[in-house]
Amino acid sequence: MKHYKIAGILIGVHYEHTGYFNNNIEKYRTDELPEYTIDVRTVDHIQAPVDKPSYTYKNRHIHKERDKEMLVVYTKDNAVKIQMTHTVDYKTQRILLHKDHVKDLAEMEYVLSGLQFMQLALYKNRLPLHASAICLNDEAILFAASSGTGKSTHASYWQKAIEGVSIINDDKPLIYKEDNQFMVSGSPWSGKDSINQNVQYPLKAIVFLDRGTSNTVFSLTVNEALKRFMKDAMRPGDERLMQNALDLIDALIHEAQYVRYTVTNHIDSVKPLYDVLYKEENHED
């Protein structure tokens, strides 16, 4: 198992398919010993649990025990195709994928290990936000929106329009507090295109994107911001993780800079937002 440091979290990851992880997770390698592990295996048999599940949802059975939780996903013929287990302290996480029942093993390995890592991230007080995060002048700007709104496209316009802009994470950057400021970190889990960097930068602003017919920046009331954060932040199933997520959202709402931006699908959409975000600095110049 190789060792990685992702958003400051020391983790050992075992994966078997290189489709998504190759040239991606390796930039997070470290010599430091892991505190947590995610172990993904492709196997030819997964034993169904004998015990009754704590609750079920469609073809998913959730088994809660005192020291661990297990999610079992069944095929239509009642064979186990996926089993995900984690200890309650998230130290040990394990994923079993059935080689015949899972269609795209590489994709499933990437998606499910990402899901487990995001839970661990929340356990460690790092909030995954559905956003494309860019870096400009050693600060992070997050474009948050639902899938299909065009956050990656907008981020790519910033790259084209302004020299030196790079993508930190194109799908789920992690926000956390360190030394009294919000930081944004990349991770190897960054959507279908796997665009990410192993970097951490202070948060400049969160921009909630909506498609529009004009490029207009709106301020958000506290209640409007709350709705947007609740929509775009990861909503975990675990009560403790939800408390951590809400703590971070509360702090962001009170302390971070955020705006709503209706945006056209054109590179001209960069300048009006840039002017608002960097207005004070430009005045000082």
Partner: protein
């Protein structure tokens, strides 16, 4: 009566939110917002309480008449019942 397991009550940005997790999150994907008296009642119901005790709690905290407190508690419990988040 008692609030079901899995509901997180947290004040965020001056709003009192009730967010479902676990099995309840699967059944109900929304968020409930409460006012101050709703928060007070919800916190008591998390531990378990009968309507009589809730009425007394409202009267004691907000200096309202028994009649008003009765109506408020009845309406609050009906709301929780309609959202299926309370065990009688």
């Amino acid at each position: 009566m008692k609030i079901k397991e899995g509901y997180v009550l947290r004040s965020v940005a001056d709003q009192h939110l009730v967010v479902p997790t676990g099995e309840e999150g699967v059944n109900f994907n929304g968020i409930i917002t409460l006012n101050d008296s709703g928060k007070l009642l919800f916190e008591r119901l998390k531990k378990g309480a009968e309507p009589k005790a809730l009425v007394a709690l409202l009267m004691e905290t907000y200096d309202v008449s028994k009649e008003t407190a009765n109506e408020d508690v009845k309406a609050f419990i009906e709301t929780l019942k309609s959202k299926n988040i309370i065990v009688l």
